[in-house]
Symmetry: C2
Subunit: 335 residues, 2 copies
């Protein structure tokens, strides 16, 4: 009960400044508080998000790659997975991920819930499986009770596990950025320099794709529309799913919220600075070569998109029961 009250407090605390979107002409709208949230699921999902026992290694959890203390990413080019294997694509942030119309760089998961199960089962991710996950949770008495409390029956299923994680992730929005305060009427919230960057951002066409509350995440687009994006990375974007030529290099437009916190940039994690990323995007997507301090102005605007980071009490995880499988990080078959 203490935790629920704490959560309610945090949620109220986090969103007292978030108000409905204004009826203005801006392509970007302020981040709003999530609606219709089930706080019991949130508390359960929060534990599961930090739960390393879901990996047979006992070493990796959702938070390993999606570090909520660091902008929802690990700031690595490619994440460290099971047995120190290298991830294949740059890890997107979990913050504001509910504002994406689809999940992953190539959009292969339609929902947060669908996404949540995939890294869990990826052999170079957490290297778990549905049966490992369920068997672990079933043997931890605290989870058996909490699933029953939250869902009304004590059967633990992957659907419930991923639903709870997704519900927690729904709360990971970052309202109250300087730019949102500007949108909401506080004209002193951003500098004139950043404002000129925003005007340029709109004028040259960045906001054609980077719009909405997430400043992106609304569509899939071809990377290298005007000029090819140079990379040695083997990913083919949506074509990796559909096999269609027209889907080559088609990626979800990433969110620009908190973008200053989440280097390195692009699906290949090849770019370290925002200024370089902005310069490349202008060239390959819009055919524009920025002059003078134009890229720097846009970067100044982008930095106003950093919102209030999620703050909540660290979850205390339920202790293992007598039959909980002991994690085996060093066993050859890893199971």
């Amino acid at each position: 009960m203490k935790f629920y009250l704490a959560s309610i407090f945090m949620v109220i605390f986090c969103f007292t400044h978030a108000m409905p979107a204004l009826s203005n002409d801006e392509p970007i709208s302020p981040i709003q508080a999530p609606k219709l949230i089930d706080l019991g699921m949130v508390e359960l999902g929060k534990k599961l998000f930090y739960e390393r026992r879901l990996s047979p290694s006992g070493h990796l959890a959702c938070n390993s790659c999606h570090n909520i203390s660091m902008g929802g990413v690990d700031n690595l080019q490619f994440s460290v997975g099971y047995k120190w294997q290298q991830g294949t694509i740059n890890t997107p942030t979990v913050l504001n991920s509910s504002l994406n119309f689809t999940q992953f760089w190539n959009g292969r998961a339609a929902t947060l819930q669908e996404q949540a199960g995939m890294p869990l089962e990826n052999p170079i991710g957490m290297a778990s499986s549905h049966s490992i996950t369920i068997n672990v949770l079933k043997t931890i008495p605290g989870y058996v009770t909490e699933f029953k409390q939250v869902f009304g029956d004590s059967e633990i299923t992957m659907d419930k596990v991923t639903a709870a994680i997704a519900e927690f992730e729904m709360t990971l929005v970052t309202p109250d950025s300087p730019f949102d305060r500007w949108l909401l009427g506080d004209k002193q919230a951003i500098s004139q320099y950043a404002l000129s960057g925003y005007q340029l951002f709109k004028k040259v066409g960045c906001s054609t794709c980077h719009n909405g509350p997430g400043v992106g995440g609304q569509t899939l687009q071809k990377l290298g529309l005007v000029e090819p994006y140079e990379t040695t990375h083997p990913a083919r974007g949506k074509a990796d799913i559909t096999g269609k030529t027209e889907d080559e290099n088609v990626y979800k437009v990433p969110l620009l919220r908190n973008i200053e916190l989440t280097p390195p940039y692009f699906h290949d994690g090849a770019v370290n600075t925002l200024e370089e990323a902005v310069t490349i995007m202008a060239r390959v997507q819009l055919g524009i070569k920025f002059k003078d301090d134009e890229a720097a102005r846009i970067v100044a605007f982008l930095k106003t998109l950093t919102g209030r980071q999620p703050v909540f009490p660290l979850p205390t995880l339920h202790p293992s029961g007598p039959d909980t499988p002991r994690p085996q990080p060093f066993r050859e078959d890893g199971s």
Copy 2:
């Protein structure tokens, strides 16, 4: 400021029930609130405890092995270190570690501060170095400011880093266990069965070594006093430091606080259950073979030593600066 207030609140909240030790004859005393704590150092140390950039891999932090969400351990036989290397000895809990008279199984660090730097620099731990640590922190503007704020000057040194981590660790005590409430006068706080276990614990001699507020951590003792402790583990205890024959198999008496949360047990992490651990200790240290439910009674007592786990707001870490070295988890030399 918000964080400081939250911390003050948490600390007050945590210790309202912790009172000075009673003047009674019990060998165990209640856990008390830490005295003379510098909350600025605590907040800085908390960040550093979760700071993966202190490892050149960008993947490992103090919390990787000393998981505060899980009783201050990783519940692994041996921890996962740099490049998935296997740790050499079972990781002791960070909870109540300030109640140890010396740190590590073999007592090789006199203080929490001295301990803090060692796993950081262990090549199979975080694989960092003094110069890597300092160079990373110096390039992160938020840390430069916070070190200056906390210590009064902006020079970042290993002494300050480890002092801040140690100050944070001082707060990781777990008061208000059922047993402490019993010690403090609430005679209903533990069951008659657990109480009979405590009486047996004293009678057979466990409390000769497992005493004080930590229920251990006061002395180094020979493991296998009456009968050898059977293990294939190569550690030699204090003899690994002194080289002396009389120090063979001499280890620090571990804390029994929250012991139910921290399997597997012993320096070799070879024992999975408390009942087995109690049975072995009685045999090899005291020459006793428990009858009937004697071991179970002691286990029931040990479970009353689980206190209130640390709960604090998740720290938000300072973003990297333009010159912050990019972590290289997959580079061959790892630096």
